[in-house]
C-alpha cells in the first residue's frame, strides 16, 4: 500500500459504559473514560496535538489540543478531558485558533527551520501540526535557544538530535509505559529541560536503553530518528508482515522505498505485540543483505574440497540422485530431513511431506526437538493438546505470575514489557530461576518471591509447591472434581502430600528456602488469577517433560485453567516453534499431533498425497546422529537449522555429520553445519517470501513478501524443486495453496486460509466450524482430552553430577541482543551489545580460582572444553556458572552433554558439570575447528 502513517487517535480508549457527547455539532458515543481528543478522532476530527499518542496515557503538556466546552470556563486540553454525557465541545473557534497558533509559534521559535533537508521531512508531526494550526511566520527575534546542540550518535540504529527536541516527553513516557525500562528522563527544569538517557555522563549506548525503538516511534519530530531513514529517505509504501525472531511473533510494517527496506515499524494493530517491538525485530534485519549471504547453489564431492557454484537445476538433480543412490545402497530409512522453527508453516509442512512422501520414511524432526518438545509431550498428556492455553492479552487479567525457567526481558522482550506493565499495576510475581534474572528486580517491579533453585531440580520445587497446596487445603477441589479425573487427582495428591515432598525435606536438593517456597505456593494458589509462564529452563532437562506436567498439575489443582488471566504459557524460543510442531515435523506424528500409527489419519494423507506412508515412527535428531555414527543413516536435508552449533555435544554432532555421505544444507549462510555439507541450497529471508508463522499463543500470522528473493527462489520453491527432482510432481504455485492443503488435512486448521488471514489479521488455532475466528483461550468448558490428567512426577536427579573434577554447574541461555546461534544477529550492528559469549561466575567461585572480569577462562566438562572470557557477577549463585551460545568461536555446546529428557530426547542444556580455570588462549578444539571452518568455506572462483 502507498505510505500512510499509522493512525493515532491521541489517547487510549476508555472502558466504561457508553456516553454520548456532541463535538462540532456531531454526536459521538464512546466508552466512559475516553478523552475528548479520542472521541473527536473517532468521527474524523483531528484536534491538533503533539504530546499525545494513543499507546500512552494522556499527558497534557503541549497545550495544542485545547478545546472549548459549553458551560465550562477556559480552554481545557482535550487529551486530559474525559468525554461526558451531554457535553458539547467545539474544536475550532477563533480563540482556539489564536491560542494554538501562539503555542506553535513558541515551539517553532526554538526549532531549526531545516525542513527541506531534515530526515523527517514529510513524516514529521511538528511539521504537520504547524500547517494544521496555520502558522505562517514566527515573530520572535533570535535569542536563547537549543539549536546547534551536539547529536548523540552512539546508538547504531538511531540518532538523537536534541536541537530538534520539543520536550514533549513522549520518548520518556514510551520508555516508561510501553517498554518499562525507565532509561530516559527529562533532566533540568524550565528552559533547561532536556531529554537525558541515564546520567550526565551517559549517552544512549552506555545508558540502560535497550534499543526497543519505542522512543523513536513516539517522537513527533526528527529528534529521535532511525539512521536508515537519514541515509535512505522516508518510505513510500508499507507491507504488514511478521517478525522472524522470537516466539512472541510481533507484526511490523515493513516500510519500503522500492525494494529497499527503510525501517520496520511495529504495527499497532498487531495482536501479539500491540504496537511494540524489541531491538531485534525493530532494527536487526541487516543480515538480509549481508555480504556473507550465499546466493547460488553449490555442490562438492567431499567436505575437504572447495564449493563449486552450480545452477538450481544441477543442484536439485545432484541432490536427488544422491538421495536415491544412498537409499538404493543402504535402504530407504538411511536418509532424513530436519525442518526449522525459523521457516514458515508452509515450508515446514513441505519438508516433512518431502520426507514422508518422497524419502518414504518418517525420519523427519525439527529444531523444536532441542527446545520445546517436552512442552508438546507434557501438555498433550495432561490437557490433550500440545500448546499453551492462553493468548498474550490474558496477562492483563493476571493477578499472580509464576515465571519459571524463562528470562522474558531477554528472550521475549516485547511480551516482557506487557508483563511488566501488569506488574506495575499490582500483579504479584514469583520467579523460579537459578539466576537473578532482570525481572526479579527492575524499575518499579520486585518479585514477591525468587526461588533460586539448584539447576536440575525444577520437578522437586514444583512438587514441593504442590505439597504445600494440597496439605494446606489450598487446592480447588470443586474445579478438579468437575474438570479432571478425580481418581488420578487423588493418586497425585497422595503422592505430593508425602512428607518426603515437603519443601523442608527437599531443601537439601533444591537449596530453596522452605519458608519462601511455602509462601510462593500460597500466593500462587490464593492470589487470584494465577498464570505460569515458562521457557527452556523448564524443558531442557532430563526431566523436562515431567516439569511441564508438574506445571500442568499445579494449574489444574488450583483451578487456574480455562479463563483469561490464568493458564500455562510456554514462551517459545524461535518464531515458529509452535508452527513447526503443528505441521507434523516430529517423526512420530502428522500435522495436528496425530500419531503416524493411526491408520485413519494416515489414510487421509495417503489419499491426498497419493502415496503409502510408513506407519512406524522415524528417527529423532539425536537418534539420526547416533545412527550415522553406526553407519545406518547416510543422508540429511537440513532446512534453516544449524545443528552443529545449536545441538549438544558438538563432537558427537560433527562425528555424525562427518559419517554421512550426503548432507544438504538449505540456509542463508554457510553455517557451521555446512562445514560438513556436500550440497548447499541458498535460502531466502522472511522479507523475501510469503507464508505464515504461528507464535507462542497459537496465533497464525501472515509473512508477506516485501522484496524479491535475492537468491532467486523462496524456500518453499527450493523444497518443491528438490521434490520434483525426486519425481514427486508437486505443482504449488503459491504458499496459499500449501496452507489450503494443511487446512484440508488438519482439523485444528480447518478454518485457516490466506484470505481469512488477510481478513482477520491473524487466527489462533483451533479454527474450526465451532470457532471459525480461532480460540484465544483453550479448555474453557473442558479439556481437549476430556478430563484433565494429573501425572505423578517423581523427582529423579539427573545423572550429570558435580564432583571433584567438575564441581560447578553450567547452565546456558541467551541475551537480548542476540538470537539463537547468532546467524542473523551476529551479522547486524547488534554485536555492539554482545560481541562474544561470556561466562558468568559468582564472586566466591571467581576468587577461589583467582579470576576477575575479563579474564580468559577454560570451561571444561566431561564432553569437552572451550575458552571464553569471564564476567564476575552475583546474578548467578555460588556453584553455578552461565553462558550463552550465540557465537561459533566459543562453541559452548562442545561442553554440553548428550543427556536428554526422558520422554523426548530434548537435550539437557541447562545442567552440565564443569570446571573453570584460568586460560591463556583457545582450546585445541577451537583451533582445530577454526582451521576446518576456513578450509570448508572455500568457494572455487567462477570461471
Amino acid at each position: 500500500m502507498t505510505y500512510q502513517p499509522q493512525s493515532d487517535l491521541g489517547t487510549p480508549a476508555g472502558t466504561g459504559e457508553p456516553v454520548t457527547l456532541t463535538i462540532d455539532g456531531r454526536a459521538v458515543t464512546v466508552p466512559a473514560g475516553t478523552s475528548v481528543m479520542r472521541a473527536a478522532a473517532e468521527i474524523g476530527t483531528a484536534i491538533p496535538k503533539l504530546c499525545a499518542t494513543d499507546n500512552m496515557k494522556a499527558f497534557g503538556s503541549c497545550r495544542l489540543c485545547l478545546v472549548e466546552v459549553e458551560g465550562r470556563r477556559g480552554t481545557p486540553a482535550s487529551c486530559t478531558t474525559p468525554a461526558e454525557a451531554g457535553m458539547v465541545v467545539h474544536t475550532q473557534t477563533p480563540q482556539l485558533q489564536k491560542l494554538r497558533k501562539g503555542v506553535m509559534e513558541l515551539y517553532i521559535s526554538d526549532h531549526p527551520l531545516d525542513c527541506l533537508t531534515c530526515a523527517a521531512n514529510g513524516d514529521c508531526e511538528l511539521q504537520d501540526q504547524a500547517g494544521a494550526v496555520g502558522l505562517r511566520d514566527v515573530r520572535y527575534a533570535a535569542g536563547d535557544n537549543h539549536l546547534g546542540q551536539a547529536k548523540d550518535l552512539s546508538n547504531p540504529y538511531f540518532d538523537f538530535d536534541p536541537s530538534k527536541c520539543i520536550v514533549c516527553s513522549r520518548c520518556v513516557r514510551a520508555c516508561d509505559e510501553v517498554q518499562g525500562t525507565f532509561a530516559l528522563t527529562i533532566d533540568g527544569m524550565g528552559f533547561g529541560s532536556k531529554v537525558s538517557a541515564g546520567t550526565a555522563a551517559d549517552d544512549f549506548l552506555s545508558s540502560e536503553c535497550v534499543s526497543c525503538g519505542a522512543c523513536v516511534q513516539a517522537c513527533p519530530t526528527a529528534t529521535l530518528q532511525e539512521r536508515a531513514v537519514v541515509e535512505i529517505g522516508t518510505p513510500e509504501r508499507s507491507v504488514v508482515t511478521t517478525c522472524a525472531y522470537c516466539g512472541v511473533g510481533c507484526t511490523f510494517r515493513a516500510e519500503m522505498r522500492g525494494e529497499q527496506l527503510v525501517r520496520m515499524v511495529p504495527w499497532k494493530d498487531g495482536k501479539a505485540n500491540r504496537g511494540h517491538s524489541c531491538v531485534k525485530g525493530r532494527f536487526a534485519w541487516g543480515y538480509a543483505n549481508h555480504q556473507e549471504r550465499i546466493l547460488n547453489p553449490m555442490i562438492r564431492a567431499s567436505i575437504d574440497q572447495p564449493w563449486r557454484e552450480v545452477s538450481w537445476d544441477e543442484a536439485f538433480a545432484h541432490a536427488a540422485s544422491e538421495i536415491r543412490r544412498i537409499q538404493a545402497k543402504y535402504g530407504k530409512d538411511s536418509v532424513g530431513g530436519i525442518t526449522s522453527s525459523r521457516c514458515t508453516n508452509e515450508e515446514t509442512f513441505l519438508v516433512q511431506k518431502l520426507v514422508r512422501a518422497g524419502f518414504q520414511n518418517n525420519n523427519v524432526d525439527t529444531c523444536a526437538r532441542v527446545c520445546h518438545s517436552p512442552t508438546g509431550y507434557g501438555l498433550k498428556t495432561t490437557f490433550g493438546t500440545s500448546a499453551g492455553t492462553q493468548d498474550f492479552d490474558s496477562v492483563e487479567q493476571c493477578d499472580v505470575m509464576l515465571v519459571i525457567g524463562a528470562n522474558p526481558t531477554d528472550g521475549h522482550p516485547v511480551f516482557a514489557s506487557r508483563m511488566k506493565r501488569r506488574l506495575r499495576q499490582g500483579a504479584k510475581l514469583i520467579v523460579v530461576d537459578p539466576r537473578r534474572i532482570d525481572m526479579v528486580r527492575t524499575p518499579h517491579i520486585e518479585a514477591e518471591h525468587h526461588l533460586p533453585l539448584r539447576p536440575g531440580t525444577n520437578v522437586a520445587v514444583l512438587t514441593a509447591m504442590a505439597h504445600v497446596i494440597v496439605t494446606e487445603g489450598l487446592a480447588d477441589e470443586a474445579f478438579v472434581r468437575e474438570r479432571c479425573d478425580w481418581d488420578e487427582y487423588r493418586h497425585w495428591a497422595d503422592f505430593v502430600a508425602n512428607p518426603r515432598n515437603a519443601p523442608e525435606a527437599l531443601q537439601p536438593v533444591t537449596t530453596v528456602d522452605p519458608a519462601e517456597l511455602r509462601a510462593a505456593a500460597r500466593l500462587y494458589a490464593t492470589g487470584g488469577n494465577a498464570a505460569i509462564y515458562y521457557g527452556l529452563g523448564v524443558t531442557e532437562h532430563s526431566q523436562g517433560s515431567s516439569t511441564v506436567m508438574a506445571i500442568a498439575n499445579l494449574a489444574m489443582a488450583t483451578g487456574n485453567i480455562g479463563r483469561p488471566g490464568v493458564g500455562v504459557n510456554p514462551l517459545r524460543g524461535q518464531n515458529n516453534v509452535q508452527g513447526a510442531c503443528d505441521m507434523g515435523s516430529f517423526p512420530h506424528e502428522l500435522s495436528g499431533y496425530r500419531h503416524i500409527s493411526d491408520a485413519a489419519t494416515r489414510k487421509l494423507f495417503e489419499a491426498d498425497w497419493g502415496v503409502a506412508l510408513d506407519p512406524e515412527p522415524g528417527l529423532r535428531i539425536p537418534n539420526m546422529l547416533d545412527a550415522a555414527c553406526d553407519g545406518s543413516f547416510k543422508a540429511l536435508y537440513v532446512q534453516g537449522e544449524d545443528i552443529l552449533q545449536s545441538d549438544p555435544n558438538t563432537r558427537h554432532v560433527s562425528a555424525g555429520l562427518a559419517a554421512m555421505e550426503c548432507v544438504i544444507v538449505h540456509d542463508l549462510f554457510l553455517n557451521e553445519t555446512a562445514n560438513y555439507a556436500h550440497i548447499f541450497l541458498p535460502g531466502s529471508t522472511f522479507l523475501e517470501k510469503n507464508g505464515t508463522f504461528t507464535n507462542a499463543e497459537r496465533r497464525i500470522q501472515p509473512v508477506r513478501k516485501v522484496m524479491t528473493p535475492i537468491n532467486g527462489l523462496e524456500d518453499w520453491e527450493v523444497t518443491q524443486g528438490l521434490a520434483n527432482a525426486l519425481g514427486l510432481g508437486w505443482n504449488y504455485r503459491h504458499p496459499s495453496e500449501i496452507m489450503d492443503e494443511i487446512a484440508r488435512l488438519t482439523p485444528t486448521f480447518a478454518g485457516v486460509s490466506f484470505d481469512r488471514l488477510d481478513e482477520l489479521g491473524s487466527i489462533q488455532w483451533p479454527s474450526t466450524a465451532a470457532a471459525p475466528e480461532g480460540t484465544p483461550v483453550m479448555h474453557i468448558d473442558g479439556f481437549v482430552r476430556g478430563k484433565g490428567k494429573f501425572v505423578v512426577t517423581d523427582y529423579i536427579p539427573t545423572d550429570e553430577r558435580t564432583g571433584p573434577r567438575f564441581p560447578l554447574l553450567l547452565t546456558t541461555g541467551r541475551i537480548l541482543s542476540q538470537y539463537n546461534v547468532g546467524a542473523q544477529t551476529r551479522r547486524t550492528a547488534n554485536v555492539v551489545w554482545h560481541e562474544e559469549d561470556l561466562l558468568e561466575i559468582h564472586p566466591v567461585d571467581a576468587e577461589d580460582r583467582g579470576l576477575k572480569t575479563g579474564d580468559w577462562v577454560r570451561l571444561a566438562s566431561r564432553s569437552g572444553e572451550t575458552t571464553l572470557r569471564a564476567t564476575v557477577t552475583d546474578r548467578v549463585a555460588p556453584g553455578v556458572v552461565y553462558t550463552t551460545f550465540h557465537h561459533p568461536a566459543t562453541q559452548a555446546n562442545v561442553v554440553t552433554t548428550d543427556y536428554s529428557d526422558w520422554a523426548t530426547n530434548c537435550p539437557e542444556y541447562k545442567v552440565t558439570a564443569v570446571q573453570v580455570a584460568a586460560s591463556n588462549g583457545p582450546s585445541d578444539w577451537q583451533e582445530d575447528y577454526e582451521a576446518l571452518s576456513e578450509r570448508s568455506r572455500r568457494i572455487e572462483a567462477a570461471e
Partner: protein, 68 residues
Amino acid sequence: MSGTHDHLVYMANQIAANLAMEADAVKATADHIEAFWDPRMVAAVLSDGAGLSPVAAAAFEVLRGAEV
C-alpha cells in the same frame, strides 16, 4: 555413556524410571517406546538387552511379543 547401543539402553532405563509411578510401569514403558522409537532402535535393544533395568527389560519383552 558411549556408543549408540549404550545410549539406547540408557534411554530405555530413563523412560522406565520416569514411568515407575504408573499403575502398570512395564506397559507404560513399552507403550512409550513403541510410540516414539524408530524400529531399528527397538531392534537394537531387543538383540542385546544387557544393562536394562528390570522394568525396561520387561517392557522389551512385551515389545518382543508384539513383534511376533
